[in-house]
Symmetry: C2
Subunit: 209 residues, 2 copies
Amino acid sequence: MRESQAAEARPYHHGDLRRALIDAASRVLESEGPSALSLRAVAREAGVSPAAPYHHFKDKTELLEAVAHEGWTLLDAALAAAKAKAPSAAEAMNELGVAYVCFARENPALYRVMYDTARDREDLPDEMQGDKDSAYCKVRDTLVDAGADPTEALDIELATTAAWCSAHGLAEMAGFKQFQHLKDACGGERAFFKAVFQHMGLVPKHLAD
Amino acid sequence: MRESQAAEARPYHHGDLRRALIDAASRVLESEGPSALSLRAVAREAGVSPAAPYHHFKDKTELLEAVAHEGWTLLDAALAAAKAKAPSAAEAMNELGVAYVCFARENPALYRVMYDTARDREDLPDEMQGDKDSAYCKVRDTLVDAGADPTEALDIELATTAAWCSAHGLAEMAGFKQFQHLKDACGGERAFFKAVFQHMGLVPKHLAD
DNA sequence: TGTACATCAGTGAACGCGCGTTCACTGATGTAC
DNA sequence: TGTACATCAGTGAACGCGCGTTCACTGATGTAC
């Protein structure tokens, strides 16, 4: 047993503190909520001094943006998975909606941070809308696959926007206890989401099976 | 000119400081945003010492809840006005939706506080859902007026929920600059809202005129 | 292979700040006699 | 109509707190010769 092993606790250099800080932020978010997400709390959670994060992020905002970025990436992956397993394009719209809301429900604090940082800049991130295979484009393409006329550009944009807003609205409201009786009546949260989506015209009327 | 007139600035006793604090909070919200809404900032804006609010509110939370309550009351009034001026029940649904989103857009910080305080308790306020003539009930009644089968209780609840969530989602997304080109294409923000609502099935398919 | 040295990635103490809240106080008001 | 007194609604100073950020520092690592 060598001397150095006694001091094995943690090497002076971390290896990938940037990554570790983002993970620590996620844990803080999950356990303490968005209001507790301070730079110091994240450093504490990562087991590092309050000054250490400044070697990896310019300031608190930059850390928050990295956390949000992580969130959008996760959300995008969840949507891609949902779309992949849908049997038809029309069904894919519902799957996308349910996957979106479930993501928000499973990561409520992260979801909040994602939209809060976006709102601070009045600007959705490219991963959500902007990139060619952004989440927004996934929804739009799915609508076209479901039979929406691709020459009606404005109409498709509006339908995509409507779908996204609807899902976001449901995601934000789903936590209120006023809706518990509806979840029960529908036979569970997922079923409740599906039922609400039925009323939201996710798939344009003339295309619904 | 009496001596006391020289010191006319403000009487020692305020008259209605509670009311004045809520108004001051609204001004702080509008000009500095929700993150600046501290008890001290509100007292400052009202021209009063930091301890004064404690004679009217137990703590900061209670002040925030009073501000939120004020917001729900204003929103309810906006919805009532919108419903009143609609020529038909089906049209009323659209008017309600547009009025809702416009309220959120005109009072973004207040709107945030309303939902933030509600979310902290996972509980929507009675003015919104619970009271017999709450905003929620206004929407549900309008749906029934538009021809929804009142014996299909679950269906009506779901349709009402869908409408509310849709409007909330649009209200939260409308501020992002990604949607500017759609607003332009539609010929203004209001027209954009209406166009999105067209895609949201606010009025159930089988009832739409 | 060894050594000098630049660079990188941490430490920990300190800064000033605004916050929520408490406290002893005081000025103004209303009421009983 | 006056006066004593309880009560109400303010003041302003102070408390402790956690925060974001800076700073001089130091330990670890990599590279040139």
